[in-house]
């Protein structure tokens, strides 16, 4: 691991007031990394060696890439095949109990929109739009009995992204950054690639650092745009040139050092000098990391980015969705390669019209067809690409959504929210591929074993476990509570581990 990078925690302060520095940069001392930092003080002072951040046990994965489908992807139409629905298609639905739907008025049972076919040695049944994932079926581990605590987009999304139903808690990537620190010197630890059409529910609350120190926030990147990262470069101004920039950096450093000379007891002054130097490095590193123009043709083909089109139909369509999602996946690979610890890719925006997310109340086929086709192409390419580079072994891939959809219609061609049962899948570092875990009932309406569903806490606990972290031990004290990503819940899903 490289030396402790200031992208993670600011520059290394003077030993005398290190504790003070850590206190100022964010409160409690619950994280394993912080605890480790403090515990290592004497060791480090003696040896002068760079700090090594610790984990609770040997990690199976070093990085995470999370694919999030905003609006509620249909487990029924894509991943969780239910022959019973095919048989009963169009018959009045009978759930055997009163169903609390988000919008009222559940219609008849509805068969999956697309046919399913088996893939891989495991023979996993996948629907037509996600057929591209068939190529990596033996890498995937499906969890079909995930339940949420809310059928509302906002709360449901926050639960998946932060572990809490209400805003004000750090995103999962923030926790990973806080716990493990960075793997690189030039790029942020936690990068978010939002849907280019807009935010999903809660906007940046899904990846904000909340009470964790600011360096753990998810940094939004919009690859391929004029301003991929906020403030990366100054706006055009008559007095700014390459030469003035270069010289201004030197003057700043020199005047700041002079100022610090009479204030040697304040490590923050050096930390800020370092932050400016790193900012300059990031200005060089980020554009290179985001530039896919030099990717070879076979890679562009793998991701479906060889279509040669620059404009798309107005109506939602698979080609456009593939382009957008795959581009983010390819950029994600480049970021992961360069040491970004956690990348979160979003598919789907807020609930405007025309619909560009997975909240298919009106028409599953119209929206989830193109969205899923694009997602599957990008995700499959990413997994294959990581594998051929030897990165899949220690990169954890997580596919999630805030909830699934009902096995019945809402009267037309859409399905209502189903927070009672939906699908998440994982792949890569430490995951037993070709696994199907936690079956749903015959309608994929609720878990087959209602008493033992999988909750997002379990997925978060498993993720942290694979990263070498005991989820009960990664804490941060805020307003009197030792907060955890998993709140007071969570069990590692051992059946998924390789």
């Amino acid at each position: 691991m490289p030396p402790q990078s200031p992208f993670h925690r600011g520059a290394a302060p003077a030993l005398t007031s290190r504790r003070e520095f850590l206190w100022r940069s964010g409160g409690g001392l619950g994280g394993i990394a912080l605890a480790h930092l403090l515990g290592s003080e004497s060791l480090r002072a003696a040896s002068g060696a760079p700090l090594r951040l610790g984990t609770h046990h040997a990690p199976r994965a070093k990085r995470v890439v999370q694919l999030f489908m905003a609006g509620g992807a249909s487990h029924i139409d894509l991943f969780d095949h239910k022959p019973e629905l095919v048989k009963r298609h169009g018959q009045p639905s009978d759930f055997g109990e009163p169903v609390e739907a988000f919008q009222d008025g559940l219609g008849p049972w509805k068969a999956p929109v697309w046919p399913f076919r088996p893939y891989g040695q495991c023979g996993k049944l996948l629907a037509e739009p996600v057929a591209a994932l068939g190529a990596v079926a033996d890498e995937l581990a499906f969890i079909h009995n995930v339940t949420s605590k809310s059928g509302v987009h906002s709360a449901g999304t926050l639960l998946q992204t932060t572990g809490f139903l209400l805003p004000g808690f750090p995103g999962s990537g923030c926790w990973v950054s806080y716990g493990l620190g960075t793997l690189n010197e030039n790029l942020p630890t936690f990068v978010v690639l939002p849907d280019h059409r807009g935010f999903a529910s809660n906007g940046s609350k899904n990846w904000d650092n909340a009470f964790l120190p600011g360096q753990h926030q998810g940094v939004m990147i919009y690859p391929g745009t004029d301003r991929p990262i906020a403030h990366l470069h100054p706006p055009a101004a008559p007095f700014l040139s390459e030469a003035s920039e270069k010289e201004s950096r030197e003057i700043l450093r020199s005047l700041n050092q002079q100022h610090a000379r009479s204030r040697t007891d304040d490590p923050r002054l050096d930390a800020r000098i370092r932050a400016y130097e790193l900012a300059a490095r990031m200005q060089l590193a980020a554009p290179e990391a985001l530039d896919i123009a030099h990717e070879p043709a076979h890679i562009l083909k793998l991701y479906g980015l060889d279509h040669g089109r620059s404009s798309f139909d107005k109506e939602i369509n698979p080609l456009e969705e593939t382009d957008y999602f795959s581009r983010k996946c390819l950029v994600a690979r480049r970021l992961l390669e360069r040491g970004v610890r956690y990348v979160q890719i979003w598919s789907g925006n807020d609930n405007g019209f025309p619909r560009r997310n997975w909240d298919s109340h009106e028409d599953i086929e119209r929206d989830q067809g193109p969205l899923a086709t694009g997602m599957a192409r990008g995700a499959a390419a990413l997994i294959q690409d990581l594998k051929q580079r030897g990165l899949l072994d220690d990169t954890l891939v997580i596919w999630s959504t805030e909830f699934g959809r009902m096995p019945s219609t809402q009267g037309g061609k859409g399905r209502d929210h189903n927070p009672y049962c939906f699908t998440t899948w994982m792949a890569g570092g430490g995951i037993r591929g070709g696994t199907t875990y936690g079956p749903s009932d015959e309608w994929a309406y609720k878990p087959a074993d209602r008493k033992n569903p999988t909750q997002v806490y379990d997925i978060h606990a498993t993720m942290l476990h694979l990263l070498g972290i005991d989820h009960t031990q990664l804490t941060f004290r805020h307003n009197g509570i030792d907060r955890r990503l998993t709140d007071v819940h969570g069990h590692v899903i051992r059946d998924l581990l390789a």
């Binding site: 007031s17 403030h231 003035s244 003057i251 304040d266 790193l278 109340h361 028409d363 009267g411 509570i481």
Partner: protein, 1001 residues
């Protein structure tokens, strides 16, 4: 001692759950055993065997428990002692277990205590009821926790040569730790420190000069007084207060809609600090200003405290309380009010007791729900008001009168409906529709609206299910009206369509074509019903398929207001209320949704006056025939009175609007407590915090671990506002040790950069310990018993030698590297607002205009659904955005990137202390934000305008503005050279990025 005669009443109080009475006379009271009794050996086993099931670790019936010493003695909900050491025959506990009180036989079920056990218990009480602390659960240890102890009454220790009370406490401690205080900082440092601390702004070069040259011995005190009198003082304090109460200008959550009337609360806070409002009044106003100070504007605006936090629009307005998610939303909403109140005013984390008793602090779960009950009637809502109390009084009287007449009217209407039956219902509906059309001139009934197509030749269908196969001979289609794109009447009516009938919902099997208009375009019917007769067929399903859609705006749709089906022309519409399915639908309730197609409502063309008259006559005839005269008369009277009230309200001047915590009168799916006259919702204790597992209802109340004598009114008597009044009184009770310590600690943090307790929102066991407990208590007592003046408190703190120390010393102390004991002043990094305000100030662009709606440093796109707050589209040259940062419009879902990079407060969470990070992203924001680059140019222009000399003088002048000092020779030389090369604006940008610009010594 309690007189025996009072015991039964007292015992009834002691246990609220009165148990079935046994009629038998009390048995004789056994005598006390004559041996020496041991608590652990003799008494604890009796409690365990008979009592702990209901009064132990798992259950605490009547809040009484016999495993915790303090509560066992103190008694349960009644507050009367249960054990009186030395007086067994007067101890309620003994009398109950000895079955001396017929209504209260303990234990109520199971085996009663044996005579021997009662004798043993008596002996124990008579022997003084010795109970070793080690044999009690930890609970009662809580009463010895520092923050719950009474505030000590101390005098500052005597320290030779030191008179300032703050210094006496600090120096005394330093001396004991053998630490040496630091000398006083120079005047330039002091004025920079004071200006940023008290105002959040840098001093001007002229102010620095004046202070440096001020030869008066009390020059410093004069400076302090001048700053305390500045209108910016309140802005500075308010920003911190707004952090603590998590104030924001949007709702947060899913759609994050703007909350356009939140700002009066922000202005209220600023005004309160500037007016040096006594703290008690400040608290009273924020929790119950409407009740403490009726009809005052401040009493209304201050209630913005209750509503300051986020609000779940979907969870309240789209989901009814009958659904789990609706229940959760409302529960979390009250939770936010409770957490905000207790975190802000008493620095406790009561919300941890939502699912179980607090794990660390002595807060039982029931106490948490008692606090929820305080807020059980209020929601976040808008309220109209005036600055003038008279007008507010008048307005609330009229509103109350209006509500009373509405209630009367509703009651009478119910009678009318009952008497009038279906005939009345029908004619009324017709009349209402006709009158609405006549009144509006524009009809406004709602309809079905297909999904939006990009081509006109895409087909869309909608169908109705008549429930069973029925004879049909006429279908009537009623068009919609919508002003979208200026279309109006006939909106969405298909240009070509066909109507089919079938008994198969999928229209796969036998399908009969009823009408075919697919060959040629149909002229738009406007609002005329399109009746399509045909030879009678039998069918259950009727489907209308549009084969050429209606144009909308570069796209195409199919919309219908109503589909009617009849077995014969002029017959009953059998499609009324039929369920509707469709290929797709925009489903945007209530305007557009499938169910509208069969709801009996459709826009009509303006009705014939004769038709209207006929309908009215028919209605009146039905009323006269069926409804008793006194009901009709009462209704007429109510109508007249309501109309008169409405006119009086209209005659009042246009009111102001503010967003507050108050009784809500309902909107959308959301029904506040307004319809119930503000009666608080019952609040049950939720098992494990699960909204679907409500337990027994709880009464409003506060924390029983706090010694404060303020009584809460019983639930059944407690009006909505009485509950909030009681909570405010409990907080402000002089005996409440938390409140006073909490507020002086916040003030200390503002001046010294760190609180005496460094967790200002948590004085519980997970929080920090006070570094100077005596000083904290002394300040709390002085503040409480004095004028409760923030300005006096601030003056006290900043005139101390402790505050005036230098912040850097060549030799640092290993013993207290963190400077917890304040042997020097803490140097500080400016907060985000101070950085932004300082950039504007030194650039000469800061607009000091106070108050009013927040300025928006973003552009809103797509406001109709989920607004997109686009910060990068904002023009940094927009002068409206050059006001102080406290007047920013604060978006919850996405915050301004520059402010975020500088660790601004997140309005989704309660922030008692800013994070302080130094990241590369922050460096990039400081260097490259459009604000910095634009202001660097203004800064340069200003310097040039003020001093037109050489680059060297300009550099020095800019330096004085930015850093309030002269540049050193080397600084001057380097910057002059740089200026000559790249211009003054580039130099100004460098100055704004210096460490010295963002750090205060």
């Amino acid at each position: 001692m309690i007189p025996r005669a009072d015991l039964p009443a007292l015992l009834a109080l002691l246990l609220l759950s009165v148990l079935p009475a046994a009629a038998a006379a009390p048995p004789p009271l056994p005598p006390a055993a004559s041996r020496t009794v041991d608590f652990v050996g003799d008494i604890q086993p009796i409690f365990t065997k008979h009592c702990l099931g209901c009064h132990g670790p798992d259950k605490q019936r009547s809040s009484y428990r016999l495993d915790a010493k303090a509560i066992a003695f103190r008694g349960g909900e009644s507050g009367h002692p249960a054990i009186l050491p030395g007086h067994s025959a007067d101890s309620p506990l003994l009398l109950m277990v000895a079955h001396q009180v017929p209504d209260l036989l303990m234990p109520p079920k199971g085996e009663p205590l044996s005579v021997a056990e009662v004798s043993t218990l008596r002996a124990w009480i008579d022997q003084g009821a010795p109970w070793p602390d080690s044999a009690s659960v930890r609970l009662d240890a809580a009463n010895s926790w520092w923050s719950l102890r009474p505030i000590a009454n101390l005098t500052p220790p005597a320290v030779e040569g030191v008179s300032h009370p703050v210094d006496r406490f600090v120096r005394d401690r330093l001396a004991r730790e053998r630490l040496v205080p630091s000398p006083e900082a120079d005047r330039r440092t002091l004025i920079r420190r004071l200006s940023f601390d008290l105002l959040g702004l840098p001093p001007t070069p002229a102010e620095v000069d004046a202070f440096v040259r001020d030869a008066r011995p009390d020059a410093y005190e004069h400076l302090v007084d001048r700053l305390l009198a500045s209108p910016h003082y309140g802005e500075r304090w308010a920003r911190h207060w707004l952090d603590v109460v998590h104030y924001g200008d949007t709702h947060g959550y899913d759609k994050d809609k703007p909350r356009p009337h939140a700002w009066p609360y922000r202005d209220y806070v600023i005004r309160s600090f500037n007016a040096d409002k006594p703290y008690s009044r400040f608290v009273q106003e924020q929790l119950a200003g409407d009740a403490f100070f009726p009809d005052t504007a401040e009493g209304i605006e201050a209630l913005g405290f209750i509503s300051a936090g986020p609000w779940d629009f979907i969870g309240h307005e789209e989901l009814p309380e009958t659904k789990t998610d609706g229940k959760i939303a409302r529960h979390l909403d009250r939770d936010d009010m409770v957490a905000n109140t207790m975190g802000t005013f008493v620095s406790l984390t009561v919300h941890c007791a939502q699912c179980h008793d607090h794990k660390f602090d002595p807060i039982p779960q029931e106490d948490y729900y008692r606090l929820q009950a305080v807020f059980a009637a209020v929601d976040r809502t808008e309220r109209q008001y005036y600055r003038e109390p008279d007008l507010n009084r008048k307005r609330s009287e009229l509103e109350a009168r209006s509500r009373q007449w509405q209630r009367d009217q509703r009651a009478l209407e119910e009678k009318v409906t009952l008497h009038g039956g279906d005939a009345l219902k029908e004619v009324r509906e017709q009349l209402a529709s006709a009158e609405k059309s006549a009144r509006d001139g524009r009809p406004a009934a709602y309809g079905f609206h297909s999904g939006i197509a990009t081509r006109e030749d895409e087909s869309r269908w909608v169908q109705v299910d008549l429930g069973e196969s029925r004879p049909l001979s006429e279908i009537t289609l009623l068009p919609c009206h919508d002003d979208f794109n200026g279309i109006g009447a006939g909106f969405g009516f298909p240009r070509r369509f066909r109507i089919e009938a079938s008994d198969d919902p999928a229209f796969d099997g036998q399908v009969t074509l009823l009408a075919d208009r697919t060959a040629a375009d149909v002229p738009n019917p406007g609002l005329e019903p399109v009746a399509l007769p045909f030879a009678t067929v039998r069918a259950r399903y009727v489907r209308v398929t549009a084969t050429r859609l209606a144009p909308r705006q570069n796209d195409f749709i199919f919309a219908l207001a109503e589909l009617e089906a009849r077995s014969q022309p002029g017959g009953t519409n059998v499609a009324r209320g039929a369920s509707v399915t469709s290929l797709d639908s925009v489903e945007a309730p209530e305007r557009w949704q499938r169910v509208n197609l069969t709801d009996g409502k459709a826009p009509r063309t303006a009705p014939d006056p004769a038709e209207l008259e006929r309908l009215r006559q028919r209605r009146d005839a039905i009323l006269a025939e069926r409804v008793p005269a006194e009901v009709r008369d009462g209704l007429t009277r109510a109508g007249t009175e309501l109309e008169a009230t409405r006119k009086s309200l209209e005659a009042l001047p246009k009111p102001l609007t503010t967003f507050v915590g108050a009784v809500h009168y309902g909107r959308g799916n959301f029904r506040g407590t307004g319809p119930d006259e503000g009666r608080p919702r019952p609040i049950p204790l939720l098992s494990r915090g699960d909204v679907n597992k409500p337990g027994r209802p709880v009464s409003p109340g506060a924390l029983r671990c706090v010694t404060a004598s303020t009584p809460f009114p019983p639930a059944e008597e407690a009006s909505e506002s009485a509950r909030r009044i009681a909570l405010a009184q409990w907080i402000l009770d002089p005996q409440n040790p938390l409140s006073w310590r909490s507020i002086v600690n916040r003030a200390w943090q503002q001046r010294f950069g760190r609180g005496l307790v460094d967790t200002p929102n948590d004085f519980g066991k997970m929080g920090g310990l006070p570094s100077h407990p005596e000083l904290l208590d002394w300040l709390a007592r002085e503040f409480r018993d004095g004028a409760q003046s923030f300005k006096q408190l601030d003056r006290l703190l900043v005139t101390s030698a402790t505050y005036r120390q230098v912040s850097h010393r060549a030799e640092s102390s290993d013993r207290d590297a963190d400077n917890r004991l304040l042997w020097r002043m803490n140097p500080r990094r400016l907060d985000a607002e101070s950085v932004r305000d300082a950039i504007l100030a030194v650039s000469g662009k800061l607009d000091p205009t106070p108050f009013g709606p927040g300025f928006q440093d973003f552009v809103i796109e797509k406001p109709e659904h989920s607004p997109h707050y686009q910060y990068h589209l904002h023009d940094p040259e927009d002068p409206r955005s050059h006001r102080r940062s406290v007047y920013r419009f604060l978006v919850r879902s996405q915050q301004e990137p520059f402010m975020v990079a500088l660790d601004c407060a997140d309005p989704s969470m309660r922030v008692d202390r800013r994070n302080e990070t130094l990241t590369p992203l922050q460096a990039l924001a400081m260097l490259n934000s459009r604000l910095t680059v634009a202001m660097a140019q203004h800064f340069a222009q200003r310097v040039k305008a003020e001093c037109s000399d050489s680059a060297e003088t300009q550099v020095a002048h800019a330096f004085r503005h930015a850093l309030q000092r002269e540049p050193e020779a080397e600084e001057r030389a380097r910057l002059t050279a740089y200026t000559q090369q790249h211009g003054l604006a580039a130099t100004c940008r460098v100055l704004l990025n210096l460490n010295e610009f963002v750090f205060v010594d």
